[in-house]
């Protein structure tokens, strides 16, 4: 279908652009500043120019080649980040969808209480939980294992995910469950074949949330993990803060690179975030 450029279409498009352009600028100006650092040679990064006089990809080469002392485990740590973030994403989605499904669709008794309890977790700020969580992990013998971080992050991410998913699933027509039950679906089949596919937009949103929560977590990550080879890259970036004279351009370069995997993951799943999934289901 080719779009016709009628005055009305142009007006709406213009209105959208009026939002879109500021949004892009707002988003990209700080990012651009990082790019500026990343493509500047070592001694001109802080020169205040809008474009480096001698742009270079040297910094990327250094980062990828693990050629700086702070980045000797770059790939390993990136891999750790990925592993941990994806595990957190997957586990959180699992825990949260099952719980949201049980509470919202199976109407399990006491579901409300569970929800309230879950939300209650957030009234204890994460910073407050840090020391106790450390002790807890120590007691469970999980300290220094990546599981400790994964579980801690799942703990922190789940309540919100459950809540968001419950909100969303309350909006699904209840008739669909009924139809599935008539068709002979067990709760598990209902979950898998009807519930999950219709929850995809929300799953993408909360999945991204859980993933990024773990991806960029700092406090818990450095508390619960120890070895240089087991921490995430986000923690390793803390090395740059140790010295009053760090290679800032490398920090920015690494930061930029670090943003790309989750952005790519999000981009992959983003196309499942579409509206109107329940269109045509019921007449009401």
């Amino acid at each position: 279908m080719t779009k016709r450029w009628t005055p009305k279409a142009i007006a709406t498009e213009a209105k959208l652009l009026l939002i879109g352009i500021p949004v892009v600028l707002w988003t990209l100006i700080p990012v651009y500043h990082m790019v500026l650092f990343a493509i500047s040679p070592r001694d001109s990064a802080t020169s205040g120019h809008l474009w480096p006089t001698h742009p270079t990809l040297q910094n990327f080469a250094i980062v990828f080649g693990e050629k700086h002392f702070y980045l000797t485990h770059f790939w390993q740590q990136l891999w750790n980040s990925l592993l941990i973030a994806i595990s957190v994403g997957v586990l959180t989605l699992f825990v949260a969808t099952t719980a949201a499904f049980a509470i919202s669709r199976l109407r399990v008794r006491g579901g409300r209480t569970v929800m309230n309890m879950a939300l209650f977790t957030y009234f204890i700020p994460a910073a407050f939980l840090a020391v106790p969580m450390y002790k807890t992990m120590g007691n469970y013998g999980l300290l220094n294992s990546q599981w400790s971080l994964i579980l801690a992050m799942v703990t922190i991410a789940s309540p919100y995910c459950i809540w968001v998913l419950k909100q969303a699933s309350d909006k699904l027509p209840y008739e669909l469950d009924e139809a599935a039950r008539m068709d002979g679906a067990s709760p598990l089949q209902l979950f898998r074949l009807v519930y999950l596919p219709l929850m995809v937009p929300s799953l993408v949103a909360v999945g991204t949330y859980a993933l990024l929560l773990a991806w960029n977590e700092y406090l818990f990550a450095f508390l619960l993990l120890s070895k240089d080879t087991s921490v995430t890259l986000a923690v390793a970036l803390g090395n740059f803060l140790s010295a009053d004279d760090s290679p800032w351009e490398l920090l920015m370069t690494t930061g930029l690179i670090y943003a790309l995997p989750p952005a790519a993951i999000y981009y992959t799943f983003k196309r499942y975030m579409v509206g109107g999934l329940t269109a045509g289901a019921v007449k009401s």
Binding site: L50, V164, P187, L233
Partner: protein, 287 residues
């Protein structure tokens, strides 16, 4: 309808509700386990650490405590609301289906995906009044010195809040986008035919559907950030003159001095700030 003749049949072995309930219980179990093991236990321990009443006395004696409380409140009320309102507006923008909006939305997520340390430092560098890009450019264009961005407490706190908004706006927008996607387009069609303007569609269709999500998210966001440690710590470090501290940075500062009890106390003190909100939310949720 003589019931005596019909044998009261053996009731089905698996009772309907029980079976459904059994499944339900199995399905909340994973979360419950996590809750008991990783929430209840640590929280209890944390409260135990924050039990000393004299911590609160000490805390109050700290001259920057009051200022931090005020800053935290400003942060919560201003930054979070600005952020959420923007997110609400932008979620309306991002649910549009346009190829270029898809690209914008992929870019838009970047701030959220970036680690705090480099981004916030980068902004700090950008704002440096002597050699930062902004003031250098201002100087080059006008010959005048740009403002000393981070040296004025109000401006510095504003930037800390902007930083916070920049960083977490994508997340909340995404959540609200998901919320909007769940609204059947039929309702908008009906409203169009009923003669609703865009604003009225928002007011009468979108907002009722998003209200709970929005309000609860706002409150949660307030609790989560409680003044956002990173944005303040990395951008202003509490400066100038400790005028931009928030309770979170205060808490960490105590932790760095091994004053764990004070650190905990400063966080506990923050709770009353959110308690009214919690009450409000609980009331909302129970509707």
């Amino acid at each position: 309808m003589s019931s005596t003749t019909v044998p009261v049949a053996a009731v089905a072995p698996l009772q309907r509700k029980d079976r459904w309930q059994t499944w339900g219980r199995w399905m909340v179990l994973p979360y419950l386990l996590i809750f008991v093991v990783f929430v209840l236990y640590p929280v209890g321990y944390g409260l135990w650490l924050a039990r000393h009443p004299q911590s609160y006395v000490h805390l109050e004696a700290d001259p920057i405590f009051l200022r931090s409380v005020i800053n935290t409140l400003v942060f919560l009320v201003v930054a979070i609301n600005v952020k959420m309102i923007l997110a609400l507006i932008l979620s309306g923008f991002f649910v549009q289906t346009r190829w270029w909006i898809k690209i914008v939305s992929a870019l838009f997520i970047l701030p959220w995906a970036m680690p705090s340390i480099p981004t916030i430092l980068s902004v700090r560098f950008m704002l440096n009044p002597e050699w930062g890009v902004i003031n250098t450019t201002i100087f080059r264009l006008t010959g005048a010195d740009g403002p000393n961005w981070l040296n004025d407490p109000t401006l510095a706190l504003t930037f800390a809040m902007l930083m916070h908004v920049w960083k977490s706006l994508p997340f909340w927008t995404l959540i609200l986008v998901a919320g909007r996607l769940a609204i059947p387009s039929e309702q908008y069609e009906a409203a169009s035919v009923d003669g609703a303007t865009s604003w009225q569609k928002f007011k009468f269709i979108s907002w009722p559907a998003l209200k709970t999500l929005y309000l609860t998210s706002t409150i949660l966001s307030m609790i989560w950030t409680l003044g956002d440690f990173n944005s303040v710590y990395l951008l202003t470090g509490g400066g100038p003159a400790d005028m931009t501290h928030v309770l979170a940075t205060l808490g960490i500062r105590y932790l760095r001095l091994d004053q764990v009890d004070l650190s905990m106390a400063s966080i506990v003190v923050a709770m009353p700030l959110v308690l009214p909100l919690v009450y409000f939310m609980m009331k909302r949720l129970s509707k």
